[in-house]
């Protein structure tokens, strides 16, 4: 009988504390401790960020913030109403321009994307997700702003829309690929064409994830500042005309944060808080709204 089996014979449920077990226990505890530290670190940073902005900005959130525009030259009062309005307009415009393109590209890559052409498209899309967003601003500046001799909300929306395209493409493709082959085969075996299968079976199964992807892309571009600097430019007046310069929350925060007037700096904090809240609310809204579409995979 070998030494090991001898030992296990006499200690059936309590193997002796050999070096191996001690080492395993130590590395186990070490792993748990390290991961806990890192989690606390990450969450801690997030909480600190939010609470800092909250503390600084919550104070100054009032109705005026949403209903007033900045006062001239530091007169008391005023708000960032035009920034909020602008953000809504620009994100809406961006969604209209960027989502259809991203959606259809994602559908193409997922359903028909086996060849070299599709691989190149996928590669280009991946590159696009990594390009600094100010470059998109520059592109739209050269394309739209300069020939028209005017900053405009349309240019800003277009820049944001282009930024949305690769994000929506990626999430759409990934989500569609997750629809199991069996579901597609079930549809094909009933005599459905490819397009019927895609439209009536595959996309509805993935709708949950697709909508999530779109809304998260919207939240992402809501915070973009650099591409708007040379396209929408910003303004201190109410503006619903997209052929004119339009403001946005990130732009407003940027402009106000180095204002010489303390009141406007405070309002910048308030704006930052509103922006963070907007993104939070978006995430919650997405989770709440898509609960009904859960698919159970056996």
């Amino acid at each position: 009988m070998s030494a090991v089996s001898q030992v296990y014979q006499s200690h059936p449920f309590h193997p002796p504390l050999s070096i191996l077990t001690v080492r395993r226990r130590i590395s186990n505890i070490l792993a748990i401790v390290l991961t806990t530290i890192f989690i606390l670190f990450t969450v801690g940073i997030l909480l600190y960020l939010i609470s800092y902005v909250l503390v600084q900005g919550l104070h100054f959130i009032n109705l005026d913030f949403f209903t007033q525009v900045p006062t001239p030259d530091g007169a008391p009062g005023g708000g960032m109403g035009q920034s909020v309005q602008g953000t809504l307009i620009l994100v809406g415009l961006a969604t209209l321009m960027g989502v259809p393109l991203g959606l259809f590209t994602g559908i193409y890559l997922s359903e028909f994307g086996q060849g070299h052409f599709a691989a190149s498209i996928r590669f280009l899309v991946d590159i696009l997700t990594g390009i600094p967003t100010i470059i998109f601003g520059l592109f739209v500046w050269g394309l739209i702003v300069v020939p028209n001799h005017s900053f405009s909300g349309f240019a800003g929306g277009m820049a944001l829309g282009i930024i949305m395209v690769p994000i929506v493409t990626r999430t759409t493709e990934d989500i569609l690929r997750l629809v199991p082959r069996e579901t597609r085969e079930a549809s094909l075996a009933l005599g459905a064409t490819e397009s019927q299968t895609i439209l009536r079976v595959v996309i509805p199964s993935a709708l949950n994830g697709i909508i999530t992807g779109i809304i998260l892309a919207m939240a992402r571009v809501a915070g973009e500042t650099a591409p708007l600097i040379m396209t929408a430019f910003g303004t201190t007046y109410w503006n619903a005309d997209i052929t004119q310069p339009t403001d946005a929350l990130p732009l407003g925060i940027y402009n106000f944060s180095h204002s010489p007037y303390q009141e406007q700096v405070n309002q910048a904090y308030a704006g930052a808080f509103i922006l963070i809240m907007l993104i939070f609310l978006t995430s919650f809204a997405v989770r709440w709204a898509t609960k009904g579409f859960e698919q159970t995979n056996r």
């Binding site: 086996q114 199991p180 069996e182 579901t183 085969e185 079930a186 549809s187 094909l188 075996a189 009933l190 005599g191 459905a192 064409t193 019927q196 009536r200 079976v201 509805p204 199964s205 709708l207 579409f293 698919q295 159970t296 995979n297 056996r298």
Partner: protein, 256 residues
């Protein structure tokens, strides 16, 4: 055309490939209407492949191809002028894993085949759904919750739902790829009973890795090995007096 009435499926010189690997070699088979034919054989022998060639689902796998003559009720389904989706309308298929469409209700699952192909609308559609669910022995269990999600059913019920879904397009032939292998024994029994009822109206071809199942429900059996049909004949005869040695080895359990 008496020959067509005696023959539901006629396969001649069928070969199939996955990419460059050949999976089926020169298959020749004739299947009588209103019967149950079982395809048996060890894993990888090609029985699922030939089943999927019968409704042209095989070519949906990337880089897969097939060549040969397959006549369903006299029509060569591999003829150039025939679109695969038209064929699949007339041939129902049930898969190994129950695959109800997850975001649709029970009613919608059964109706979708008819809706996609524009076969029925309104009241006629509802009658069709009820008829299919009755034929699949599921109507009594679901008639009060037709609009709840299909995923709330048990495994056995989901499989019967898939059978109802396949029957809703009123096919002539029903192909079943190991329909009971993922089910518990009680559900398996129900499905086998169902097949005995269905053969009065449909021609059923069932792939099974369970020899006893083939012996229980098959009128005829085909034994496949490594892409070839080794033997094909009346079930009882094949099991009790196999003509080829490989068949004998398989049915006596020498290899599986």
């Amino acid at each position: 055309m008496e020959q067509e009435q005696k023959v539901a499926v006629h396969v001649e010189h069928l070969n199939a490939w996955y990419g460059k690997t050949q999976a089926l070699y020169d298959i020749n088979l004739t299947i009588a209407p209103l019967s149950v034919t079982a395809f048996i054989g060890p894993s990888g022998c090609g029985k699922s492949t030939i089943l999927r060639c019968l409704n042209r689902m095989h070519e949906e796998v990337p880089r897969a191809s097939a060549a040969g003559l397959v006549q369903i009720e006299g029509v060569n389904i591999y003829a150039h002028s025939i679109k695969p989706m038209y064929i699949r309308l007339h041939i129902g298929m049930v898969f190994q894993q129950p695959n109800p469409l997850p975001t649709r209700s029970i009613w919608e699952n059964v109706a979708i085949g008819a809706q996609i192909n524009g076969l029925a609308k309104g009241k006629a559609l509802h009658e069709r759904v009820e008829r299919s669910l009755r034929q699949a022995a599921l109507w009594d269990e679901v008639k009060d919750r037709l609009h709840s999600s299909a995923t709330t059913l048990s495994g056995g019920q989901q499989q019967r739902l898939c059978i109802a879904r396949a029957l809703a397009t009123e096919p002539k032939i029903l192909l079943m790829d190991e329909p009971a292998s993922a089910l518990d024994p009680e559900s398996t029994f129900k499905v086998e009973e169902l097949i005995q009822e269905l053969k009065k109206q449909y021609t059923v071809i069932i792939v099974t890795h369970n020899m006893q199942q083939a012996a229980r429900i098959g009128d005829t059996t085909a034994f496949f090995l490594k892409g070839h049909v080794i033997e094909f004949g009346e079930t009882q005869h094949l099991f009790t007096h196999p003509q080829k040695q490989e068949t004998e080895y398989y049915v006596t359990g020498r290899f599986s």
